[in-house]
């Protein structure tokens, strides 16, 4: 019994140590961002690697999510004769919730896991130690540009996801189900508020971009330097980042729309 408690305390202790290391890591990598201004090329490279490579999955997913929303929404709304509000339904769901959340989940799975594996492998193959011995700070040189690129990419990807989702919804509603085109767009235009809706979506995606990049890079940097350690870290990135996204989404929604 006391053995169990002992083990439990030890894991709690190591969890807190990890959280502490995570904080230090964050400060360390943020400290490297000013030095990136004269070398923005490093960030551009990562924007390409992280952002552009996630583009396909985000676009395809956005299109399908929008189409499904169109179909499901139509079935419900048509019973009330309110199918002309379909545009509003699709747009609000995407802008407020599904866009930021689903894009972030996809981003965690596609780019986050890749970041963790990349950094973890750099650690396992002593590339990071090697850099340290060359008097180059590996966090500033390797982690900070990736963090900044992740942080910039996700809001942009979210915007693309949302746009394609709206287009998918339109495609199902207007040509397929015969909803009136003018009503579809005009109601959407009238009821989606820039400040309340779009801004809240942007805030969410910025927060998610920060958190997912942080988790992914920290997991890679903190991974045990073996192939098994890297594979476990990659899994942890997807799990922790997804949970963080969903949890934070609730908190942010409560803060912005709860009152």
């Amino acid at each position: 019994m006391s053995e169990v408690v002992h083990q439990w305390l030890l894991s709690l202790f190591s969890l807190f140590r990890r959280l502490g290391r995570g904080q230090f890591f964050l400060f360390h990598l943020l400290g490297g961002i000013p030095s990136l201004i004269p070398r923005f090329r490093l960030v551009i490279q990562q924007l390409y690697a992280i952002g552009v490579h996630s583009l396909t999955i985000v676009m395809v997913a956005g299109l399908f999510v929008g189409m499904v929303l169109g179909l499901q929404g139509y079935n419900t709304l048509v019973d009330f004769g309110a199918e002309e509000s379909l545009g509003v339904l699709v747009a609000l769901s995407l802008v407020r919730e599904l866009g930021p959340v689903v894009a972030a989940l996809l981003f965690a799975g596609r780019a986050g896991s890749a970041l963790t594996a990349e950094i973890g492998l750099m650690k396992a193959t002593e590339q990071l130690s090697g850099m340290e011995m060359m008097a180059v700070d590996p966090v500033h040189r390797m982690i900070s540009p990736r963090f900044l690129a992740g942080f910039i990419s996700l809001p942009l990807l979210t915007a693309i996801f949302t746009l394609l989702g709206v287009f998918g919804g339109y495609f199902v509603a207007v040509p397929l189900l015969g909803v009136d085109e003018g009503a579809f767009w005009s109601q959407m235009q009238a009821r989606v508020d820039f400040f309340e809706d779009i801004q809240s979506g942007v805030i969410k995606s910025v927060v998610f971009g920060f958190v997912v990049s942080w988790i992914a890079l920290f997991e890679g940097y903190d991974a045990t330097a073996t192939s098994e350690g890297v594979s476990r870290a990659t899994t942890r990135t997807v799990v922790h980042a997804s949970l963080a996204i969903l949890g934070l989404d609730f908190v942010l929604t409560a803060l912005m729309f709860g009152a």
């Binding site: 492998l121 590339q127 090697g130 340290e132 011995m133 180059v136």
Partner: protein, 297 residues
């Protein structure tokens, strides 16, 4: 004609003192380790002590070998010299500076003058051979592009791989990767190069090439070289001085000649690679017959 002014006299005398000091400095070992103790941080606390009071000196311009079986902490020792790890007790001094007193900036300034060849090569996998060798130069200097290019070519020429500049690390053989890493380690003209098991896993030809390179670079660049290894013959044949490390202690030191003639049974077992001796073949365990008898019951 002009009488030496007091001013001038003063500069001369200070210069003289400076020269004497630098001569004294030159006679001092480049690396001095005293009573070094160290243990790794484990997951839930400290691991058992890896070094139990090590003393060693690495003299300037020499090739010093540190030999010991796997897991004695040879890599750890190099990391302590490079300041990536810090001693639990005792002192590590490099070029007169005690590492524990240096701040991060001082440490980085020192490391610029130390090249390290990692066991795995540690080349950056997403860069070509050329970019790898250029990396430390670009990070630490603001030389114009053409000069960087010439420098990189010079370093690659020194290791015989100028023709391989466009290859990616994954396309290199093990020996070539190590030579590229060596070119990178000497890119900033260091005062010292640390070699972590340079011969491990190399075919005889690459081994010969690396031995020749270590000797030649040590002479032409006036380096100090520290070679950590468990390949006894190769290491003894290039070293000027040898330390033998086992179980956290220095168990033997001297010129390769002296080491070969040492009487200690442990040293003889290690040098000749005998399977049994002071280092037993069996990992400590219960006697086998009692285990078997126990299993029958």
């Amino acid at each position: 004609m002009a009488k030496p002014t007091p001013q001038r006299k003063k500069t001369e005398s200070t210069r003289g003192r400076g020269r004497r000091r630098s001569q004294k400095r030159r006679a001092e070992p480049l690396v001095r380790i005293r009573d070094l103790e160290f243990s790794h941080e484990g997951r839930y606390g400290t691991c058992p002590s890896l070094f139990k009071g090590i003393n060693l000196d690495i003299h300037r311009g020499k090739i010093v070998a540190i030999l010991g079986p796997s897991g004695t902490g040879k890599t750890t020792l190099l990391r302590l010299i490079g300041g990536q790890l810090s001693a639990s007790a005792g002192r590590v001094e490099v070029d007169g500076e005690q590492l524990s007193t240096l701040n991060r900036k001082g440490l980085y300034r020192l490391r610029r003058r130390i090249g390290m060849l990692f066991q795995s090569g540690a080349l950056l996998t997403d860069m070509t051979v050329f970019e790898n060798v250029a990396f430390p130069i670009l990070e630490h200097t603001r030389l114009p592009g053409k000069m960087v290019r010439d420098l990189v070519w010079m370093k690659l020429e020194a290791v015989g791989l100028r023709g391989a500049e466009a290859l990616m690390p994954a396309e290199l053989s093990g020996g070539m990767a190590r030579r590229v890493a060596l070119a990178r380690a000497i890119a900033l003209d260091p005062m010292m190069v640390l070699y972590d098991e340079p011969f491990t896993g190399q075919d005889p030809i690459s081994m010969g090439v690396l031995m020749k390179l270590i000797r030649e670079l040590n002479q032409t660049l006036r380096l100090t070289s520290v070679v950590v290894s468990h390949d006894v013959e190769e290491t003894l044949s290039i070293a000027d001085y040898v330390y033998l490390l086992s179980e956290g202690q220095v168990v033997g030191k001297g010129s390769p000649q002296q080491i070969r003639q040492a009487q200690s049974p442990w040293i003889q077992q290690f040098l000749k690679g005998e399977p049994d001796g002071p280092v037993p073949f069996h990992y400590p365990a219960e006697p086998f017959h009692t285990v078997l008898m126990g299993a029958q019951e």
